[in-house]
């Protein structure tokens, strides 16, 4: 059974600080996705990482993928309150089927 584990599950950080969310997965995959979910809302796509060593950045968020270690990271730089949300990683198998992590609930406090 494929497992996707995120840590931490809950993260409270001060504005201006840096932090990293980790996503480990248990089987070979070369596609990894990061989504954001605001309370009561649906999932919004942040990044699609398609190959080993892929790095993508958008604003204060940067995602990377190491397929050999089966690890992706989502790095937050100089956090601001607007980044408060739940972040999910997902791995695709056979292209079509996604397996999601349990999510990391991020709260940025002033």
């Amino acid at each position: 059974e494929l497992k996707v584990e995120q840590n931490p599950l809950f993260l409270s950080m001060q504005e201006g600080k840096n932090y990293t969310i980790y996503c480990n997965y248990s089987t070979t995959s070369d596609r990894l996705y990061w989504y954001r979910q605001d309370p009561g809302k649906s999932l919004e796509s942040l990044f699609v990482l398609l190959s080993n060593g892929a790095v993508k950045q958008e604003g204060r968020l940067m995602a990377s993928l190491d397929t050999k270690a089966r690890l992706s990271t989502l790095h937050i730089t100089a956090a601001v309150h607007d980044l408060s949300a739940t972040y999910f990683c997902a791995v695709s198998v056979a292209g079509n089927q996604f397996y999601f992590g349990t999510g990391t609930s991020l709260t940025v406090i002033p």
């Binding site: 989504y35 649906s42 796509s45 699609v48 999910f88 079509n96 089927q97 996604f98 999601f100 992590g101």
Partner: protein, 113 residues
């Protein structure tokens, strides 16, 4: 922009009722998915479909069925709703391409009493 819509944002049903959740996408995507989301469990795949009239079981299909009669529409059916099916239901669609990225609808919060 890809648009995935779901028939209801909130739904309250009684135990034993038959429940229909509908999802429509407007981007001619081949693949459609139904997930349920529960606190601490993330998203779990119920069923998916890669073509009209085709369906595949996901990880938790028990108690659910699906229907895809038209490419743009994917319905999730709870034959006899139970309280343990109270959840947030999310529909998604994707196309065959480089990324297989899934686009999500707004979700339906279903409460079964």
């Amino acid at each position: 922009d890809v648009k995935v819509t779901q028939s209801s944002r909130y739904l309250v049903k009684r135990t034993g009722e038959k429940v229909f959740l509908e999802c429509v996408q407007d981007m001619d995507h081949e693949n459609m998915f139904w997930y349920r989301q529960d606190p601490g469990l993330g998203l779990r795949l119920i069923y998916f479909s890669y073509d009209v009239k085709m369906k595949e079981k996901g990880d938790i299909p028990e108690g659910y069925s699906v229907s895809r009669e038209k490419k743009e529409r994917f319905s999730l059916i709870l034959e006899s709703a139970s309280t343990n099916q109270t959840s947030m239901y999310l529909c998604a669609s994707s196309f065959y391409g480089e990324t297989y990225e899934q686009y999500f609808g707004p979700g339906t919060r279903l409460t079964v009493t």
